[in-house]
């Protein structure tokens, strides 16, 4: 027995240190949870409470890299994380446009599209951006038409989608289809939003595409 103890003494020392470190780490984890959420780690704790906390505090910029990492690592929740990432990227993209950063907005829309390439709202948002962005170097009429057609197929008879498709046709130089589609959008839209649609129709009738102010 003594010989056995001597034989593995270095292993025992390392193991004792590792065990100590491990239990200290668990205590550290308890402290982290008490500090950040004033409670013991919940039974359903996963990484999502941290990400949800960032989203609730509108700290989207920090939530995005965590979600991207989650998509690459968490193979069991890929679809759910991709949907959330697309939603957050869309929200941040809109705020980037409002703050005058269309380049940043495009990167985020592309991230959203890469995550959920078949989501109608993402197709619609990216198509609208590519058709109407005030920065001409970022516009791409042909691609906008392709995306908007897919959105229209997924959500037919929808005024907003048709409006986007019209803008895409106009940017691509196809004003005939732009006018036809815009008229259909006006017929389907509620009275309150017909004014904006009509003003865009007037532009298309003059052979001019619509660009964001």
């Amino acid at each position: 027995m003594n010989a056995e103890l001597k034989e593995h003494w270095s292993l025992r020392v390392i193991f004792a240190l590792t065990t100590t470190f491990f239990f200290l780490a668990m205590v550290l984890g308890l402290i982290q949870s008490l500090r950040s959420s004033h409670r013991l780690p919940p039974i359903n704790s996963h990484y999502t409470p941290e990400i949800n906390a960032l989203i609730e505090n509108e700290n989207y910029e920090n939530a995005i890299p965590h979600l991207e990492r989650a998509i690459s690592i968490d193979l069991e929740n890929t679809a759910k994380n991709k949907t959330l990432l697309a939603k957050i990227c869309s929200v941040v993209a809109q705020s980037r446009i409002a703050s005058g950063d269309p380049q940043g907005a495009l990167l985020l829309y592309e991230k959203a599209y890469a995550a959920t390439p078949d989501a109608t709202d993402i197709l619609n948002n990216l198509a609208w951006f590519l058709a109407t962005c005030k920065d001409p170097s970022l516009r791409n009429g042909r691609r906008a038409v392709g995306l908007a057609v897919r959105a229209d197929k997924a959500k037919p008879e929808d005024a907003a989608t048709l409006d986007t498709l019209s803008a895409a046709y106009a940017e691509a130089g196809d004003f005939t289809n732009a006018v036809t589609t815009q008229r259909k959008a006006i017929r389907l839209s509620p009275a309150a939003s017909q004014g904006d649609l009509q003003s865009r129709l007037d532009l298309y009738l003059e052979g001019k595409p619509y660009h964001a102010p």
Partner: protein
């Protein structure tokens, strides 16, 4: 006379020699409970709403987390393991911790690989457990198996794993598929559609073939619990979509594991000369230790890495992956049935009904 003694022997032989009682063994160790739950979910998909995300977390702690912790508790409480397995008891935790810390620093590159590794390994582990339990019950029930029949049991048990390895997304062959031909729509339509049904036929038909073959070659009856164990091992993978199958298979594998490991622990402890505690004490002690350690491992330990500045995603998922891999390796050692091992004595021991 011969016919009468044969018919008397068939019933008990088919029932097998249980560890606790037939109800307990068949429901929990054999996986019979999972048949009822599988049937319920299959017939009534909306009925799964009675298990919300919040309540599922408690199931997972009580079953999954506790079962992963159970192998560690068993390793360090089983008599003689420090002497017989010094590198598993003292070296392996160090190595796993080093791997964990290393992967934390290279999470982008290494975390997806580690996750795919443990997800690929899991169905193999469940299949190996089904094989181990089958052989154990055969041995315990007096159904001696030749090497060829053991190999056949191994192959039948491994069919669900093989199916997972080849067909499941992001793991197994798909994890290793550099060429991308597995994702080809033509491959999807022609091969995968028939592959699932062929594998299910082999998995379940194989059990019937196994039973007949053992009866013919060994002139003995394989206990029904062995067939049940192999059946339930395959059922979830073939009946449900991959993610759902994974969740439920892990829960019921966890219940099965906890049932058998507690039996072994309790019998080991009751056999110790210095023991002064009751069976109930040892059951509660062991399961309580598993719950506590499971909570610590899965809920507290990842937060230490978050505290140290690592992201929440890699902190949680890498800890989960490393704990599971550690569990798979430990399990390969603590269930051996060598002649000098206490496990062997427990397998050979009488059922409680016979000793009362």
């Amino acid at each position: 006379m011969t016919q009468q003694s044969g018919s008397i022997a068939l019933g008990p032989a088919l029932l097998g020699r249980e560890f606790v009682n037939p109800f307990f063994d068949y429901l929990l160790i054999g996986g019979g409970l999972s048949l009822f739950v599988a049937g319920f979910i299959f017939i009534n998909p909306l009925g799964t709403n009675f298990i919300t995300e919040a309540t599922l977390a408690y199931f997972i702690l009580a079953s999954n987390s506790a079962h992963f912790a159970a192998s560690t508790v068993r390793l360090y409480t089983k008599p003689g393991t420090y002497q017989s397995l010094p590198y598993v008891t003292m070296g392996l935790p160090v190595i796993m911790l080093a791997i964990l810390v290393g992967c934390m620093f290279q999470a982008d590159r290494l975390a997806p690989q580690l996750t795919s590794l443990y997800l690929t390994w899991s169905p193999f582990h469940y299949a190996a457990q089904a094989y181990g339990l089958t052989v154990m019950y055969c041995y315990r029930s007096g159904c001696t198996l030749s090497d060829n029949n053991k190999k056949l049991i191994w192959r039948v048990a491994m069919i669900p794993f093989l199916y997972n390895f080849i067909a499941m997304p992001n793991v197994g062959l798909h994890w290793l598929d550099f060429g991308g031909w597995l994702g080809n729509p033509a491959t999807q339509q022609t091969f995968w559609f028939y592959f699932k049904y062929a594998m299910a036929f082999l998995a379940f038909g194989g059990i019937a073939y196994l039973w007949i073959r053992i009866a013919k070659t060994e002139k003995q009856v394989m206990p029904a619990i062995c067939g049940l164990t192999l059946l339930t091992n395959g059922l979830w993978w073939f009946l449900f979509p991959p993610l759902q199958a994974f969740v439920w298979a892990t829960i019921f594998h966890g219940i099965q594991y906890l049932a058998i490991v507690i039996i072994f622990h309790v019998r080991d402890q009751l056999a110790r000369p210095e023991n002064h505690h009751s069976r109930t004490y040892h059951i509660c002690w062991f399961y309580g230790a598993c719950i506590l350690l499971g909570y610590g491992l899965f809920h507290c330990f990842p937060r230490a890495f978050i505290f140290l500045g690592f992201g929440p995603v890699e902190s949680v998922l890498l800890v989960v992956a490393v704990i599971q891999i550690h569990h798979f390796i430990v399990d390969a050692f603590i269930w051996r049935l060598k002649k000098s091992d206490s496990n062997r004595k427990i397998v050979e021991s009488a059922s409680p009904a016979l000793t009362s």
